[in-house]
Amino acid sequence: MSTVQPRVPLISVTPRGLYCARGDFYIDPWEGVDVALITHAHSDHAREGSRLYHITQPSLSIIKRRLGADGVYNTHIYGEPFTLGDVLVSFHPAGHILGSAQIRLECEGEVWVVSGDYKRDYDPTCMPFEVVPCDVFITESTFGLPVFVWKSIAEEAEAIYRWWQKNKDLGRNSILACYALGKSQRVLHALQEFTNQPVLLHGATQALVDLYREQGVPLIATEAAADYGKGTKGQLILAPPAAITSVWARKFGPFESGFASGWMRIRGNRRRKAYDQGFVISDHADWPALIQTVRETGAKKIYVTHGYTDELSRFLNEQGHSAEPLETLFAREEDA
């Protein structure tokens, strides 16, 4: 008599986050743990308080800035495996922001991939997404509905440029609300094609732009908004979304406000946010990219997290995949 032991899943959801018992580590834990693997430097994924962090080499300077320079960081090159307990671990480009990674885990011949946040669109400010074949794929689903389809960044950057010039003609500034890490740099890169006028930056954005430049990412010329006072006219100013409604923005009046976000795809969101202009730019996968990626990984099992989990998994199941929502504590990303 022999019994077949059902395999214990390599990753489980615990109150502190995704946990891998065979390697005794967490991935993007939402509180301090002993060993944490971090997919990327956004604050909902990289949190402070852990004893040891495994991160990608290109994300080091950003994570240090966000979590403090005195943390213990083990850095890794994309694609280079290392061992934690019984598990062979490697980081692979996710195409989300500079240094972002999918995490591949291999144990007893079974391969799991945790996507983190990712996109498939053109973005020369970071390494492009790499398809990593696997048995189990844990995918994000921030924009997991078919109404989310992105235009090219070039098209939206041109729209930003035209908006800026129109406001300039009317003697107004243009303040663009833009996630300080990743999206701002992507916009600053894409604008190079249209102009060489400098763009002004909010202090929070400035710091991260400097870190991108240090790694050799070419961006349009920028200047500190802080150096410009009342009476400034015709400038494009990039700032984190929270800054636009603060007193900081007031000295740049009269201005029009814009918001660069995947949520701007929907008219109701544009109105609700009360921005004058919406630009549909996201560093997350759109619907076609999510479906394409799941297919390309060849995964037999798909777990869906971080967004429209129920909807995407149901659709994947109807398409003949085996998918399931994974309830995690990641909230809806308002600024995505």
Partner: protein
Amino acid sequence: MKRLVALFEAIDTTTSTKNKVTHLAEYFRAAPPADAIWTLYYFLGRKQKRLVKRKMIQEAVQELSGLPDWLFEESYSAVGDLAETIALLTETIGPKALSDVPLHIWVQDRLPSLSKLPDEAQKDRLKQWWRELSTEEVFILTKLLTGGFRSGVSERLVIRGLVEAFQWDEAVLSEKLIGDWPITDEWFLTLGSAQREGLSLYPYPFFLASPTDDDPGLLGDISEFAVEWKWDGIRSQIVKREGQVAIWSRGEELISQSFPELIAMAGTLPDGTVLDGEILAYEGDTARAFANLQKRLQRKKVSDKMVKDNPVVFFGFDCLQWAGLDLRDQTLKQRRETLDKAVREFAHPTLRASHLIHCQTWADLFELRKESRSRQVEGLMLKRWNSVYQMGRKKGDWWKWKIDPMTLDAVMLYAQAGHGKRANLYTDYTFGLWKDQTLVPFAKAYSGLSNEEINKLDAWIRKHTLERFGPVRSVMPLKVFEIAFEGIALSPRHKAGIAVRFPRILRERLDKKPEDADSLASAMELLNAPTVQS
């Protein structure tokens, strides 16, 4: 068509009223009159017929994009707008060959021809059109097809746009644009001319009161004001011209057929008469709940029994035209004299003049205002005796001084994703009160929170969902909110047995636990507040 799309987008992407007017003016100057008249028609929110079934358009887009029903519904619930959902999903067919067909060809020829085709042919035609239309055009055409087009600007701004474009007279324009008019390019071109031809049963543009808060003392001496109760009825104008009568609501909707006894009464008035006032449910000398009026409005045809069971009166408070003479430039004092005289002479049980309240001081009035609730009124109206009858909501002469609403503390039970402006977020909430050991839903409210509060609540709802039924989630009964409302009445149609008017959220009661929320019994106490004769 592209010009209309550009106008719509321009209006949609500016929050400044001034810019909206400028965009409208630019449009009207540039558009051919044959298109401009249709834009005017739709922007003034005119009644549109639904030309095809929603289901049919939905099926066409699903066939095109290969999406199952439930995923279409989920997309719809995230977007919050059917036409926009359809427009966004047409992008799944990839690049399109764009053409530009004029608006009047669309609405006069193309769209009506669609409704004559059998379902399958309708779908094929739609799919073919979609290949030639931008996403924004699909959005607007779908709105026109389903009769749901909203311009997002008020009637006043549209008129200001025309004024800015052609320097037409604003007052003449607003008067000409009330009621029915021909949708032709010739008529558009005559809009600027001052005369109005033929018989007109149109009302005058309504003058609306502005809210004032707690210190009307700042407005001036109380003797300068006509003071009236603010009744909870239907603001309306009765128009009698050349032997015919029309009754118009404040929204400039014709409501004559709901009130045959008022039509009969007004038939005895002299030609060339316009009275402004409030229709009230009224029996003997007592005002009754607004619900009784609603019963009348809901019927296409009002039976004799309905008239007998739900009696109404017209409480006139102003006389805008008398025996062919436009009185609007007279003072309220003079107009009121004409009104009082008319009511006396034509002594008719369904025509009364509103009661004037005489108080010596604001302090006395403040005391009297406290009786509002028991008198079943919403507060007081204050109108300057020496004011002329203006148009729209112009601050300064007419004020409404409302009483504070009733409130109850209730527990959030359900949340539903909002539509339109608040798509994609859980913004519509159902609240419950205690009855024995259970919470019974008693009110639905969706206004009263800031965007920031809504965002926070949305995240909370997603984390505390018990069950999902389509777009609705039941949530853990943990949060207590103070709900304000204007009126309360028995209602067997509601689970709680009561219905409240204009419920809204005042604030979250973080200091209260769910067990501290109010009970249905305390709601019933509000219901039993004494009803007093006026």
